[in-house]
Symmetry: C2
Subunit: 472 residues, 2 copies
């Protein structure tokens, strides 16, 4: 594998700070946005990037503006923007990029080995099986299907469908297409394809005008931060939500729509960086067990190290935390881990043409090597502490502007007085060379890459502090 690993020098090379040349978006970005507007809806475009010039924690735009990136392509860049790409020097690696196989029928020779080096080397506790998929939504859709298949076979007591199952499923009817449900949480985000979307409840714009399923939706605890200062109130709120979960499971069973699975994020990200305690997740896991529902932890945004552990659910300290764990974003490929019993019983049930993209596994193996070699999870824990301390200080300094600073590792957030002020802060910070993202109604989420060090935190806090002073 000579020539295939990112060297220390390549990782460490980056710029020494932001550098702004124009307003953002600048003239070149505006011109390109207009061009792209002839082809697509460009309402969400921030600006266009020069990825060749981007390095480490710095994203460079097409107008030459260099920004400290604390959003990282919606939390999807694991180790920053690398300076060189040594993998392409190898002919056999190139082949992996050009010859995209139908992985489910004709995988390349190194496929099991690369899965072992990449995804399996960081498999969650109790899981030795993984299925890759092309994106986060497909990962969750297929995880839901795996739970439905598992639940139905459990209900049958065997895996042989009846003739009626076979004929009715062809026309979308029960019993072949049973009225099973997935229990999700208000404020959750699990993707935008129609199965996922029925479990997504973060913003109306995602769901409006799209038909959905009548599935149960439980309240997610609304906790007070810092969690450790409000343990009693928070425990009450969590108990209330757990009680509601059990009620819903019973109600939906009575309605003839039994809950085959429960899906939850370890931290509700898109919905506003809403945290819950390990105790909540442990009890929820037990409720799933008790009622025979599968427990699916969606780590699409939380996974990959940003919380200081590779998987956010590791903070719960459980040996058997989940039946299914889905991922995407920082993992560079979508997919899901699952327990043995959640594997579909027959071929072609969890299947599509591409089933992921093996070239992404090659990248991921490289990225994981860097994470280990550079001890990036420790780095994240260190930077995260400094970041959260800084946010606490700013919150004390600007009590009318800021509240509820919270986070795990560098996966942090803070609430702003109102939506308009939040949006203004995001734009002002960008003008000063710091890229941030919003989430929920009025939160800012911090999503740096794993190479975000303490001196980057200080650089960020300085800019952020200036911006806040302008909004006080």
């Amino acid at each position: 594998m000579e020539g295939l690993s990112l060297s220390k020098t390549q990782m460490e090379f980056e710029y020494d700070g932001p550098s702004m040349k124009t307003e953002v978006p600048g003239p070149r970005s505006k011109e390109l946005t207009k061009q792209l507007g002839e082809i697509q809806n460009v309402g969400a475009i921030n600006f266009f990037c020069n990825y060749e010039e981007s390095r480490g924690n710095y994203l460079v735009d097409v107008d030459g503006n260099r920004m400290l990136d604390v959003y990282t392509q919606i939390s999807s860049i694991p180790i920053g923007y690398p300076a060189e790409f040594p993998m392409f020097t190898s002919f056999s690696s190139q082949s992996a990029f050009v010859n995209r196989p139908a992985l489910g029928i004709m995988p390349p020779e190194n496929f099991p080995e690369k899965l072992a080096e990449s995804l399996l080397s960081v498999a969650p506790s109790g899981m030795s099986r993984v299925q890759t998929m092309a994106c986060g939504s497909c990962s969750n859709e297929n995880a839901y299907k795996a739970m439905f298949i598992w639940y139905r076979n459990k209900e049958r007591g065997h895996n042989i469908p009846s003739d009626e199952d076979v004929s009715s499923c062809m026309i979308n009817q029960s019993p072949g297409c049973p009225d099973f449900s997935i229990l999700s949480f208000m404020g959750g985000f699990h993707g935008r394809t129609m199965g996922c979307l029925a479990t997504t409840h973060s913003k109306a714009i995602h769901k409006l005008d799209v038909p959905s399923f009548d599935w149960p939706i439980a309240p997610f605890p609304k906790l007070k931060y810092p969690l450790e200062e409000f343990t009693r109130e928070n425990a009450q709120e969590e108990a209330r939500c757990l009680e509601e979960v059990e009620d819903l499971i019973v109600q939906w069973r009575q309605k003839g729509r039994p809950v085959a699975g429960i899906v939850i994020e370890p931290i509700q990200a898109e919905g506003g960086d809403n945290h819950a305690t390990p105790d909540f997740f442990k009890k929820l896991r037990n409720i799933a067990h008790k009622h025979g529902s599968a427990f699916h932890v969606d780590e699409v945004q939380t996974g990959g190290g940003a919380t200081g552990k590779f998987w956010a659910h590791e903070h719960w300290g459980m040996d058997d935390p989940a039946d299914i764990v889905s991922f995407s974003k920082k993992m560079l490929t979508g997919g899901f881990y699952h327990k043995d019993e959640l594997q579909a019983d027959k071929a072609y049930r969890i299947f599509n043409t591409w089933m992921g993209d093996p070239s992404k596994n090659l990248f991921l193996a490289e990225v994981l090597n860097v994470i280990r070699r550079e001890n990036l999870l420790e780095e994240v824990t260190r930077s995260g502490k400094t970041l959260l301390q800084g946010l606490y200080q700013l919150q004390d300094q600007y009590p009318n502007l800021l509240s509820s600073a919270r986070g795990q590792g560098t996966f942090c957030a803070i609430d702003i007085r109102d939506d308009a002020t939040r949006n203004s802060i995001l734009l002002k910070a960008r003008d000063k060379g710091v890229l941030l993202g919003g989430c929920g109604d009025r939160s800012i989420r911090f999503r740096p890459a794993l190479v975000f060090k303490e001196y980057h935190v200080h650089m960020f806090l300085n800019v952020f502090s200036d911006v806040l002073a302008e909004h006080n």
Copy 2:
């Protein structure tokens, strides 16, 4: 763009025929299948490949068996397995592979240009807008969402949702999540995520145990082949199906589940290579117009040139063939073209983190250059004629074994006496160095790459003829 194009020599270099060393799967494939079996369900694995050694129309497996590939990774390889990958010599191209952006918010500078060079350069008639997605299922899911949004705004007479729309959609309820439907056809295949799956009706194994929507399913014409010999019967059958389509649209409107869109493949592929005439599609298009439903042509398998035209629907000879055309597979990226009015009215409605993968657009631009330079559509037409003639001859020779030879370009198929014989023929052909795929109950589908020339057809027919002789 120096150094970025595939030269004629690179394209033409390939082996001179199949060469078999072991049975298939051979010992190395079996060993790897066992390894992968510890990680995934391997029930669908045929064998493992050596993609570095594969060239042109020949796929080489890990046991050194070299097979003429007439299935091409479930019809997803456009121009065969290339010998060299000149794109990787350019640093800026490499960056596109390593730095995967969130395309919907921060696209790379060359994104509009590459869309123009690739997808837009082959846009279907009447369509200048395209949205990329990561796979075929996501493409159809998002196309359905675009149709629902369009239909709902048409119904409202404006695009401003009511407060009730906004609040009800968050809990999956009408009117925010309306009870709209997509009309699909029995035998159709449109993917495996839950929205797509509600329109897929080709095989029970795809649908079993997964909850679905109560959406209308129309009969797809069951025609007699060759189509031109049975024009009267076929026209009657098509009229019957069209009548049923109109009945279903009226019924579902009365049920409160109006048909927002109709989705159909130009040739039902997975469902058994079922053809219909241009007249059928023209009339169906008119029915959609008449009832205010969007018309979605799914070209995921048929698109990209295998029918002898770039899009199979071009054979219908219409100026305004569709409102939405989705693609994936040979296009190397998923996505959909659409008319201006089908563009979502607001940002973040058709959206996800990756929104495709710009590195695939770079490959596609290269592939399209080769298709044009080498006149591959003419090649396909020529090879396809020879292939279909050959199938007709074999069908005359083996009337008890073969029937219903049919095809457009090299996108051909033939029916076999029964399922067991079909499967035996597929395996025997593989042992003799020819890779084929099945579809429907008892059909064989031919899906060579666009570089499949007349001498490849003859090579294939010789092997196929030998295999048939063993089954007569």
